[in-house]
């Protein structure tokens, strides 16, 4: 009995005082994914990677916005979004106190503007993504000298670009004399 008491006194209290005092999480703990709106380029990599579809992206081509949406109630805290994000806009934190009384509090939404195609006038890609591509090209040294056309080319939607390329190719050869094609 005394032996047991001595041991208990030596070991001390094992219970953590959690609700009254903050508890320390383990290093590398994967908690709430925190979204940094100022760094997001709406590329959709996180939405593609997310295993339970907690992160979703939607196009609204009428209003010209791409919306980003996370449901913390569905998130499994795997960290795949953190892993694939090219700009570090979503990072897992040590925050674990996520309980909520209303479901709306578990959502985080963001809307990013889309860019209009200069040729056909339809919305086709997030402005920030295009700016990011331009900045990357600049950093790679590809924008200096002879590549000014790239800037214009980026503002054309893929469909118009295809059409332009096709008409440019058509202008090169003589029309109506495709091998195997009808005259």
């Amino acid at each position: 009995m005394l032996k047991l008491l001595r041991k208990a006194l030596k070991v001390g209290e094992a219970t953590v005082e959690y609700p009254f005092k903050p508890v320390e999480v383990a290093p590398g703990f994967r908690g709430k994914p925190v979204y940094d709106f100022s760094r997001c380029i709406a590329c959709g990599a996180c939405a593609t990677a997310c295993p339970p579809n907690a992160i979703t992206m939607d196009w609204d081509l009428e209003r010209g916005v791409k919306s980003w949406n996370i449901n913390y109630g569905r998130c499994i805290f795997c960290g795949r979004c953190d892993e694939v994000c090219p700009t570090g806009a979503i990072v897992l934190s040590a925050e674990f106190e996520l309980a909520a009384a209303r479901k709306e509090d578990l959502y985080c939404r963001a809307e990013l503007k889309l860019c209009k195609c200069i040729s056909c006038g339809a919305y086709f890609a997030p402005c920030r993504e295009l700016e990011y591509v331009l900045a990357s090209l600049r950093q790679a040294g590809l924008l200096e000298g002879g590549h000014e056309g790239w800037k214009q080319l980026l503002k054309v939607c893929p469909e118009c670009r295809r059409r332009q390329a096709a008409s440019a190719t058509g202008a090169l050869g003589r029309p109506g004399r495709m091998p195997g094609g009808r005259q």
Partner: protein, 250 residues
Amino acid sequence: MDQEVKLAELKAKLKKVIKRSVYIYRVDCGGCNGCEIEIFAAISPVYDPERLGMKVVASPRHADVLLYTGPMTRAMRLPAIRAYQAAPDPKIVVAYGACGCSGGIFHDCYSVWGGADSIFPVDVYIPGCPPTPAATLYGLAMALDLLQQKIKGEQFAETEVTRVVPQYDGVCPELAKEIEQEARRLSGYLHGRRIAAQYLQFVREGDPLAVDRKIKELIKQEKDPRLAEVFLSLHKIYMEKMERVGHNAG
């Protein structure tokens, strides 16, 4: 409508009355048992919820709080409703885990109806896959109005076009990509990113010769042989790249 108001009043009264004697009944609606294991971890002496009066009981007839874990599967919906009806009114319903909140990773499964809220009203959602014992205690304390809710729904909208610059300013994106890929391949995304950032910090600062010297010094001083090895392989990529660039220029 009148009944709902009455129920809310009763619930508020219940919270006041059961402050130090909360009986919890746990229903698994078809989850993977991860949540159960975490609940058992939460009722272990390390977290000891019995000092707050929380106790897991074996019958819903004794329960004040119903804890629904797992996605609401077709097979378990009737037992879940039976447990809900068996618990005396007023009761507090808690949706536990990602599956309990919204169906989680099983949300589009053929037999899954969604979270616990697809069948009956839920008072508190505790997200997590599974929630840690501390998160469990926090959620239960929130259900009993002992603690305040911390998370808030957020909404962002772009008012004007802002620019996002690539990470690792001043480094060729292709080189940065290769270094980061190799670092992640060798030591995982979490440490890989940190190591790549540390390495690219050197690259950003000086010309190839200075970088070479600094990195070799760093590798010599590094006490962790694993980290030194990673730095060495990153450095190999960098030197090869620089050689190729030099070759092309010359």
